[in-house]
């Protein structure tokens, strides 16, 4: 709809064919590592890169917040993983014994951050879908 712009309406860029529903990114990041593990622990940071690229293409009005949550999430995940391994060694526990717990907790941090970013992007995506649907009629 031409004319007045509402602030929460996304302004998609030219490559809008690449825009996906952010929940798809969330589900892919859950299931893909069961089949293929990306190098350099990519399963923990690639989804954030994807969701930010998606937000950029979408012209998401909340892109800055999405980037902020993503960076905070990656830093928290990284800090926790390194800190937990360091603490384990410092306290004399065997890393083999604590590793499964560290892995579960780090997954918790990762999914929490990703879930929050996806939720943030879902609102502009819903508005984008609606506007696109209206334009096609």
């Amino acid at each position: 709809m031409a004319g007045y712009d509402i602030i929460d309406e996304p302004k998609p860029r030219l490559q809008e064919n690449f825009i996906v529903d952010p929940t798809v990114i969330f589900f892919v990041s859950i299931f893909l590592p069961l089949l293929w593990v990306p190098p350099f622990q990519g399963q923990y940071w690639l989804p954030f890169v994807w969701v930010i690229a998606n937000g950029y293409l979408l012209g998401s009005p909340t892109l800055k917040k999405e980037i902020g949550i993503s960076i905070a999430g990656i830093l928290l995940w990284l800090g926790f993983s390194i800190g937990a391994v360091y603490l384990t060694q410092l306290s004399g526990f065997a890393l083999e014994a604590t590793a499964p717990y560290i892995r579960i907790l780090s997954k918790g941090i990762f999914f929490l951050a990703l879930y929050l970013v996806v939720l943030k992007q879902s609102a502009p995506y819903a508005v984008y879908s609606y506007v696109k649907e209206q334009a096609s009629h």
Partner: protein, 306 residues
């Protein structure tokens, strides 16, 4: 705004067609960006769609253009209640009241806010003041009904709901109140009747759809559990809801791992399977719930002008 556009916008809003109303208001604002009323109406529609951030932005513009219209403040108060900024909502209601001292609407809203704050005496005082200002207001019976319903006094609430329906059997709020009461009294058929009545007049009524869903879920234990879980998590808001879900994930997985390390592999397996079952249940329930609701709604006959 010209008369034809105003009529079209009000008609769309009355029928709950907020997306259509927004499109019309965007056209109006493209022609006249200084129209405070158009900004405020746009805000109302955006709020109805749950787009609170954009709604607040539009309300700020409306108030900067015209700070002397009471219903702008009332709309802002409504927005603040939805954002759980109740103290701020009280301030906006009071501003609306100072602009229109003879209008009982700010008092009705204040009463709702005080009920949310669990300040029942203040809520009752507002309703009594509203009754003094406009003893014939149709809203009065409904507001008192809601007041007693929230306090668990179902008999008194029922009396007021019946009175409201006697005055206007087609009133949506009166029907919703009666529906909620009937459900609380265990009469789900009656509750369904009132919910269906409101939906047939306004298929976008969130309150009516919620009541209808409550009725359906009450009758279906499998989906009812999911509905209650989902409602509780949704009521927490996005961030807290996400925390709860992740905590559940951590609790199940850490416990299963700890039990495995203690030498109980079978118990650990059962716990892990329990988590998988919970995840599957929450996934399966969503399409099942939507399908059930859609099937029911397809049987509705809506009013002709919808």
């Amino acid at each position: 705004m010209d008369g034809y556009r105003i009529d079209s916008i009000w008609r769309a809003m009355r029928l709950g067609q907020h997306t259509h109303a927004i499109d019309l208001l965007k056209q109006v604002l493209a022609d006249d960006p200084q129209s405070a009323v158009a900004h405020a109406l746009l805000a109302s529609n955006l709020i109805a769609q749950g787009r609170l951030h954009a709604g607040e932005h539009e309300l700020k513009i409306a108030l900067s253009l015209d700070p002397n219209t009471a219903w702008f403040y009332l709309t802002y108060a409504r927005l603040c209640t939805l954002k759980n900024r109740l103290k701020e909502a009280i301030q906006y209601c009071e501003q609306a009241q100072s602009l229109e001292p003879s209008n009982p609407e700010p008092l009705f809203m204040l009463s709702e806010i005080y009920l949310q704050l669990d300040e029942r005496q203040a809520a009752e005082a507002c309703l009594k003041e509203a009754a003094r200002l406009d003893p014939d207001s149709r809203r009065l019976e409904i507001a008192f009904g809601e007041f007693y319903f929230s306090g668990g006094k179902l008999d008194q609430a029922l009396q007021h709901a019946s009175e409201a329906l006697r005055a206007d059997a087609g009133d949506a709020d009166a029907n919703l109140l009666m529906g909620k009461l009937q459900l609380a009294l265990g009469n789900s058929d009656d509750a369904e009747y009132h919910a269906k009545f409101v939906i047939s007049n306004n298929p976008s009524s969130k309150e009516a759809l919620r009541l209808f869903s409550h009725v359906k879920m009450r009758r279906n234990p499998f989906l009812g559990l999911w509905w209650r879980l989902n409602s509780k998590i949704a009521a927490l808001g996005n961030t807290k809801g996400a925390f709860v879900i992740i905590m559940a994930f951590l609790f199940f997985n850490l416990l299963a791992r700890a039990i495995l390390d203690m030498g109980y592999p079978t118990t650990s397996l059962v716990l892990s399977l329990g988590w998988v079952a919970l995840v599957l249940y929450s996934w399966i329930s969503i399409p099942m719930y939507h399908r059930a609701l859609k099937k029911e709604l397809e049987e509705f006959s809506f009013r002709k002008d919808y």
